[in-house]
């Protein structure tokens, strides 16, 4: 039976860091600001930027819908869709209300499953790069983000952040 399923991801929901109390001891205003920060909008923005970064790379295309083996389309609103030659039905990415990221795709064949894992991994790295860039900009750094192929089907992201007014 072929169907589109919601896939687990290693990217978690936003949470309060255990080191927040250490920050509070040195800079209580910063700790309170971080604790109250609503990051869902930033996460959604970084999801879109990460997908834009991947489109066109290594046969990755911008899809218009996610469909299963039988041609049934996934109906929930998605923040982005990737298709490749190896996964013509595509994989969808969306951000839940709590800020956690989820994927949907049809894992009908083992080849599709492998491709889904590859695309999730590529997305996770690109997303983390965009999130780190945003975090460093929030902290007042001028940030440059570079991307090169690792020659193994993945990418290495390099970020240089400088705070000139320190």
């Amino acid at each position: 039976m072929s169907k589109i399923v919601i896939l687990n991801t290693k990217l978690g929901a936003p949470q309060l860091s255990r080191c927040l109390e250490e920050i509070r001891a040195a800079e209580p205003e910063l700790a309170n600001w971080i604790a109250g920060l609503n990051t869902v909008g930033i996460i959604k923005e970084c999801v879109v930027l990460a997908l834009d970064r991947l489109y066109g790379c290594d046969g990755i295309n911008h899809g218009s819908k996610v469909v299963d083996y039988s041609g049934n389309a996934y109906k929930q609103k998605l923040d982005g869709i990737i298709t490749t030659e190896e996964l013509p039905g595509g994989i969808g990415v969306y951000v839940n209300d709590d800020g956690s990221i989820a994927f949907c795709a049809d894992e009908y064949t083992s080849e599709w499953k492998d491709e889904i894992k590859r695309l999730q991994s590529l997305f996770a790295d690109a997303f983390q790069a965009e999130i780190v860039k945003s975090v460093l900009q929030i902290r007042g750094y001028d940030v440059e983000l570079g991307q090169i192929s690792d020659n193994k089907g993945g990418f290495v992201y390099s970020i240089q952040a400088v705070k000139t007014n320190a």
């Binding site: 309060l16 910063l30 990051t39 780190v132 902290r139 970020i159 952040a161 400088v162």
Partner: protein
């Protein structure tokens, strides 16, 4: 000397190198970055404190993510 942070992200995880930070500023900045990353769903493990890796040139600390 400006405070700079170099970050590398690949399949093996994420590594932060802090340069030009003095004293406790490095650890404080690493904590702030980690807390913000976790507020955005990117969960991290600090490999070591900034003080442990402190060097003459200011290379000061690392953060790696858990996946």
């Amino acid at each position: 000397m400006p405070e700079t942070i170099s970050v590398q992200i690949d399949k093996n995880g994420m590594k932060f190198d802090f340069h030009g930070f003095s004293g406790n500023n490095c650890g404080h900045e690493a904590n702030a970055i980690r807390a913000l990353l976790e507020k955005m769903g990117v969960h991290t493990d600090i490999e070591d404190s900034c003080q442990k890796e402190q060097e003459v040139n200011g290379v000061a600390g690392r953060i790696s993510n858990g996946y």
